[in-house]
């Protein structure tokens, strides 16, 4: 940000991405339905759900403490602050400093901690089960995220997310393409795991015993459930931003065009998720770590390709 005229494009792009986020799960679900020969829910269903939930009353469990009430708020807050670290317009982030990628991961971790504790606060065995599965998966997802970032640090020599996903990345994009492609696949697999999509979790399941993400939030209601649903959609958008930024050199485009490209890219990623969901079954829970280790292996191959 230093030594450069501050423009409004980072702020505008942040608003645009957050506004578009609730459409992404809808697009993915619709794609899946289309490919499996069903009509499916409308693409904009989540907006309607959010609007309905915000106007509803809250129901609290007798067992819960303030931890349960603040959990959804922290989930949303961390995703929002994490979003300010990404160069959404391909050039600048609202907040950028050397090593901000650690803060990005840390903020998502804080949100997860709050979500899991809110689930455990209900004292229900179902929510405990979901919390246990959530932390199991995220434990393996965390190193993958850092390995993917390491590839980008190595490729660009920049320790800011704004640089390693923005202009610096675009500058070396053509030479480092193989590694970046692998990293993009790694981010895509992470997006599936972190936002509970097939093959890690199935958002369409109706059986509590098989749920992961859905079951942690069984007891949330009203505006607080809306916050969690929005937080999850926004998190999906953030990981989709990572995928798009790595695969498309948006730093070469002017900011406004880059935002447009990002929005198109988000839709493509969501369709991709839908295709994956339609084409493969869910993994057994104890296979999920292997899925993530494979993603990590891709990143390590990316490092090796850079060292040639």
């Amino acid at each position: 940000m230093e030594g450069r005229a501050v423009t409004f494009s980072p702020l505008v792009s942040l608003v645009a991405v957050l506004a578009a986020a609730p459409a992404l799960p809808g697009i993915a679900t619709r794609t899946r339905a289309f490919l499996t020969g069903r009509r499916g829910t409308p693409v904009l269903q989540l907006y309607a759900d959010l609007g309905k939930l915000v106007r509803k009353n809250v129901v609290y469990s007798r067992t819960t403490t303030p931890v349960f009430r603040i959990g959804p708020i922290i989930v949303v807050a961390t995703v929002l602050v994490a979003a300010t670290l990404l160069p959404l317009d391909g050039h600048q982030a609202l907040l950028s400093f050397s090593g901000d990628l650690v803060a990005f991961a840390g903020l998502l971790g804080l949100g997860r901690f709050a979500l899991v504790l809110a689930g455990l606060d209900t004292g229900s065995s179902f929510e405990g089960m979901g919390a246990s599965r959530e932390v199991t998966i995220s434990t393996f997802a965390e190193p993958v995220l850092f390995l993917c970032f390491t590839v980008l640090v190595l490729a660009t020599g920049d320790l800011t997310l704004a640089g390693m996903l923005g202009e610096r990345l675009s500058a070396i994009w053509s030479t480092a393409m193989p590694s970046l492609a692998l990293t993009g696949v790694g981010f895509f697999m992470l997006a599936l795991a972190e936002t509970s999509r097939v093959p890690v979790d199935d958002p369409a399941t109706h059986l509590e015993l098989t749920m992961i993400h859905e079951v942690i939030v069984l007891d949330h209601s009203g505006p607080e459930l809306a916050m969690i649903l929005f937080g999850n959609a926004a998190k999906l958008a953030l990981f989709a931003v990572l995928v798009v930024s790595v695969l498309v050199p948006r730093g070469l485009l002017p900011p406004w065009l880059a935002v447009l490209a990002l929005l198109v890219g988000l839709v493509v990623v969501a369709i991709g998720i839908g295709v994956v969901e339609a084409s493969m079954a869910r993994l057994r829970l104890n296979r999920v770590p292997q899925f993530l280790v494979a993603a990590g292996a891709l990143a390590v191959v990316g490092v090796i390709l850079l060292l040639r």
Binding site: K56, N57, V58, V59, Y60, S61, R62, T63, T65, V67, I73, I74, A77, T84, L95, S98, G99, D100, V102, A103, G106, L107, G109, L110, R112, F113, V116, L117, L120, D121, T122, G123, S124, S125, E127, G128, A131, S132, R133, V135, T136, S138, T139, F140, P143, F146, F149, T150, V153, L154, G157, L159, E208, L218, G222, P223, N286, G296, V303, L307
Partner: protein
């Protein structure tokens, strides 16, 4: 320096006061707490002045003392560790006065208070000593007073056993240190650290031996894997406020020693960096994995100390790599991360042990799976413990995040060099895995301990209550320190950098400009305050929405099944089971399946898998030798003559007979 001495005297006086007022018990306790806190605060003032840039203070005892002059000094490194000792020390001491008050009737509590004071003063002696003899004397006083505190509840067999393992290992550590000092003084003109510094730098040879012995001796004290196995037992056995001091502070003496040796011997070789890095990675990953498997609250926290020592060693490894490969930025980041994490861990680990003590005293059990729902009964303890958990997991905006951020940055910055790429990939992946596992571990602990419903079926006869102000106050104070460092890292980054510069001595250009530090610190603060601001706005928004006020309260939804009972909650073991299962035999969980029962049995793979088998084999072997001691004079004479002949032969053959 004299102020520090006065502080130490007041601390000792406080320790003695508990014994002097045997009749008026409350007065003795209060005097102990007051004098200890006053002594700690007084002793901390010269350390703070040194860390704000004042010149090194020193003092020396002349005269015919063994091992030359006994010199002491307060340089930035010592001053930093004096603060690491005194801040948790004061909190734990004040807490201890209330914590042990209930045990006055049937235990010698006054002795614990006295030993506690002695331990603090010995720790100060270790970090301020500037010569071999005072260092070793203070080291031994520290080790022995800690031993006596560990075996406080010596009527329990497991406590005696833990004490035995601890005392054997700590003397192995002392032995290695004596060897290390001997190797150092072989090339030096005297026994002070200054002599060692000039001697070792001049000679160059023998440095490998010194580094190896330092790794072994200080590694045992720090509890690095595979030399950690004394730690969980000893720290779990001691009274909780003593555990806080042992785990939060005494382990750091190993870190202090390693930093001191690096400072004395000048640029450390690359292999030293790799060994530190490897020890750090092993301690970090395995420590947290073993912690996740524990059923006992205090043993779990103790294993987390292994993990955090791992993170510190990782940072030091990165720092040594930076020095060895000529990357000053990497060196400063790695060492600063290590130094800062030492302080942070001292704060949050003592906080967690104090919280654990409050839980154990209120409920009478240390078994995690028998607890639950304590948050409503003990909200302040739960809040303080929650802050400690967030800090130890390394989540923003708490202090653990700041130091882990520095280590991560060091790792990623090192990727520029050829050697550094390996560090970066292994270290970034490893540190992230440690963070993920720690998150699993502490979400389990917080969730099972403080949230949900109580798991004890008949807790009726024992009312669980918040402990008194004497215990809550110190916990909240430590929690406040964790929050302040997390939100305003600028207060600790500059002193930490001063410490690192004094250790490295050589000018460290690049990042060393203070402008950049403040810049980075403000950016980290921005993130912290940003989260706080958004949370506040959302809270206000929810309040304005007005829906939360007419909320309904119902039972937790049981998925249309029968009502949930507290026995149906997810327990700690089931919570951790899927994660532990994916690591195979590493966590050391043995499942015992019987016809009517299922339970898990925990082993420490290093202690039970490697050390004890060797130990017993050694015992069997030496048992065979026992037959030689049959009491027959003739046989003894044969042995004596055979030995003499052997020696004679050796001298003639290899030493060259005239």
């Amino acid at each position: 320096m004299s102020i520090l001495l006065w502080g130490a005297c007041i601390i000792l006086l406080g320790g003695a006061s508990a014994s002097l007022f045997r009749r008026r018990i409350t007065a003795g306790d209060r005097l102990f707490a007051g004098l200890l806190a006053a002594g700690c605060l007084l002793g901390a003032t010269p350390a703070v002045t040194v860390l704000r840039g004042a010149p090194t203070m020193s003092a020396s005892l002349q005269g015919s003392l063994p091992g030359g002059p006994w010199s002491f000094a307060l340089d930035p490194l010592s001053a930093w560790f004096v603060l690491v000792i005194l801040l948790p020390g004061a909190a734990a001491g004040v807490y201890g006065a209330t914590y042990l008050a209930a045990e006055r009737a049937h235990r010698n509590v006054a002795a614990v208070h006295a030993l506690f004071a002695v331990l603090i003063v010995a720790l100060i002696g270790v970090v301020t000593a500037q010569a071999m003899m005072p260092f070793l004397v203070a080291w031994e006083v520290m080790a022995l007073s800690a031993y006596l505190l560990v075996v406080f509840e010596s009527e329990r067999a497991e406590v005696r056993r833990a004490g035995l393992v601890y005392i054997v290992l700590t003397h192995l550590s002392t032995l290695a240190l004596i060897g290390m000092f001997a190797a150092m003084s072989a090339h030096a003109g005297g026994n002070t650290f200054a002599d060692f510094a000039s001697g070792s730098r001049a000679s160059g040879s023998g440095r490998t031996l010194v580094f190896a012995l330092a790794l072994f001796g200080f590694g045992i004290k720090a509890g690095a894997v595979p030399m950690h196995f004394w730690l969980p037992g000893a720290h779990a056995a001691a009274p909780s406020h003593v555990s806080a001091l042992l785990s939060g502070v005494m382990l750091k003496m190993g870190i202090y020693g390693l930093l001191r040796v690096v400072g004395l011997l000048g640029p450390a070789p690359l292999w030293f960096g790799w060994v530190l890095f490897g020890l750090g990675l092993a301690s970090g990953v395995l420590g947290v994995l073993w912690a996740l498997a524990q059923h006992d609250l205090k043993r779990m926290l103790a294993y987390h100390s292994v993990e955090n020592v791992g993170i510190i060693l990782l940072g030091m490894g990165v720092g040594v790599l930076g020095v060895a490969s000529g990357q000053p930025v990497v060196a400063v980041l790695g060492f600063t991360g290590a130094v800062l994490h030492t302080m942070n861990h001292a704060l949050f680990k003592s906080l967690l042990f104090l919280g654990a003590g409050a839980v154990v005293q209120a409920t009478g059990t240390r078994v995690i799976d028998q607890l639950g729902g304590l948050g409503r009964r003990m909200p302040l303890t739960a809040t303080a413990f929650g802050v400690g958990s967030l800090a130890i997991v390394g989540l923003p905006p708490f202090n653990g995040f700041i130091s882990e951020w520095l280590v991560f940055r060091g790792l990623l910055s090192s990727a520029g060099s050829h050697e550094g790429v390996r560090f970066a990939v292994l270290g970034a992946g490893g540190l992230a895995l440690i963070g993920g596992l720690a998150l699993a571990c502490f979400s389990k602990l917080d969730g099972v301990l403080f949230l949900g419903q109580s798991r004890a079926p008949s807790r009726g006869e024992r009312e669980v209550r918040e402990p008194g102000a004497g215990m809550v106050g110190p916990m909240l104070g430590l929690a406040a320190a964790c929050v302040v460092i997390g939100f305003l890292p600028v207060v600790v980054l500059a002193p930490a950098q001063l410490v690192v510069e004094s250790v490295l001595e050589t000018a460290v250009g690049g990042i060393a400009g203070s402008g950049e530090w403040t810049e980075l610190a403000t950016r980290l603060s921005t993130v912290a305050f940003g989260v706080l601001a958004v949370v506040t706005v959302l809270l206000l928004a929810r309040g304005l929405l007005g829906r939360a006020r007419n909320a309904r309260t119902v039972d937790t939804w049981a998925c249309a099944g029968p009502p949930l009972s507290s026995r149906m909650q997810y327990g700690a073991s089931s919570y951790a089971a899927p994660l532990l299962a994916s690591f195979g035999p590493l966590p050391g969980v043995l499942e015992v399946r019987e016809a009517t029962a299922f339970h898990t049995h925990l082993v420490d793979p290093v202690q039970d898998g490697a050390v004890l088998p060797v130990w017993w084999a050694l015992g069997r072997l030496t048992g065979r030798l026992r037959g030689w001691q049959g009491g027959r004079i003739r046989w003894y004479l044969v042995l004596v003559i055979a030995t003499l002949l052997g020696l004679l032969f050796y001298l003639m053959q290899w030493k060259g007979a005239p």
